[in-house]
């Protein structure tokens, strides 16, 4: 049972790290600001989400797991709002505003 949980942790955390890699490469390589924002939100949602999912079996008790999930929810909520705000600023002022 412990082995199965460890395998789950390793695979989910590895998938999350892959999305961090993809997001960073996208942020470096995409041509304009709005597509870079798209790459950034993938990191927020999938990268951190998969890492949190993978860490859930390693936490002690229900409270620790709930805390991890609430941190992910906070990052996702703030990431969605912040992305809208930044995209609005880019639309109004251009990428140098």
């Amino acid at each position: 049972m412990t082995l199965a949980l460890d395998i789950f942790t390793v695979s989910a955390v590895s998938a999350g790290v892959f999305f961090f890699l993809a997001g960073t490469v996208g942020l470096l390589r995409f041509p304009d600001s709005l597509t870079r924002l798209h790459a950034l939100t993938k990191v927020d949602n999938l990268g951190l989400g998969l890492i949190v999912l993978g860490l859930l079996p390693q936490t002690n008790g229900l409270f620790g797991g709930l805390k991890l999930v609430s941190i992910w929810l906070l990052v996702q909520l703030s990431g969605a709002i912040v992305t809208q705000l930044i995209a609005g600023a880019v639309r109004q002022h251009g990428p140098h505003g």
Partner: protein, 95 residues
Amino acid sequence: MASFLFGTAGFVLTMVALGLVVILQRPAAVDHMMAAQLLGTGGVAVLLLLAAATETPPIVDVALLLALFAAFAAVAFVRSAPDQESDVLETTSGG
């Protein structure tokens, strides 16, 4: 398991730091803000991985605060943008 989590934490930290250094060379202010957001999310991920690797649950609280401050930083950036534009407008209309 702990060494795997340490390794992934180091990998994420290296990647986010490399991205930050490269993006800070660029001229656009929005790119700098996006690099800071990436550092915020990456920092949260690194802290959560370290909390699980060292079995020190208080590090999770630090990650929570970092997530909160990353949101505040972006809101402050967006709120400061109209002031910059009005400065530009005043300069161009005055000149």
